[in-house]
Symmetry: C2
Subunit: 119 residues, 2 copies
Amino acid sequence: MPIYLQLMEQVKHAIETGALRPGEQLPSLRPLAEELVINPNTVAKAYRELAHQGVIELRQGAGAFVTDKAPTQDDAEKLKAAKVLVAQGIKRLRGRGITDDEIRRLVEAELNQSGGQKS
Amino acid sequence: MPIYLQLMEQVKHAIETGALRPGEQLPSLRPLAEELVINPNTVAKAYRELAHQGVIELRQGAGAFVTDKAPTQDDAEKLKAAKVLVAQGIKRLRGRGITDDEIRRLVEAELNQSGGQKS
DNA sequence: ATTACTGTATTATCTCAGTAATACAGTGCT
DNA sequence: AGCACTGTATTACTGAGATAATACAGTAAT
């Protein structure tokens, strides 16, 4: 799994658990990159994506800040419930003899069709 | 979408619709490649994958043949039903405010976890 | 045995996502 | 203004998957 995606998850998780709160400033690119022993551009990409998702806000020269509409603890609950739904759905599909590859293709097709955009 | 995957789909579809029947020989690599204006190796890859999935059987020097346990018209029906299930599931998830990217990640995580292998 | 067809194997090329290196530009404090 | 910090943009490197070029090996008919 790409580094920048892992970082995005960690940030989201930190927000969901309250370790990072709306309005609060995130660690800036270079220090964080150095701490994680990765390239600043990789952090930048993660931040850019998070900003595009509305989770954080980037202000050039100032820093990166958690948005008001960032994922809350409630959202984490929702996601957990969704995870159960997905697990059940996949179990049913498998029970009907649908292979994993076919499941992947069906999901992808459905997402791309009905108003789908790969952010 | 990779050419060899598209070709795999076409072959499966041909089998499901009865255009190609169990035991019947598929067009051989080079003629088919020439007709589709693609490289024979690409056809070979598609055939190899299909053989790995048990859909067809490859006999060196002889040709490629549809297997007995290839996908039937019934399987096509099943897949259609599965498609409906997936569509419903995704609709529900979206209704709960889950984004498409999150759906993708949930599905992938679930598949990889519970006995998942990316054939 | 030869011939003309099959699929197979090996190696090289192309493409693209992810990452890295480096220079650019905005903020805010003194 | 100057400085030390922010994020941004451009360009290059790298690795993996897809495709291509070419040579190899098995089959079946004559």
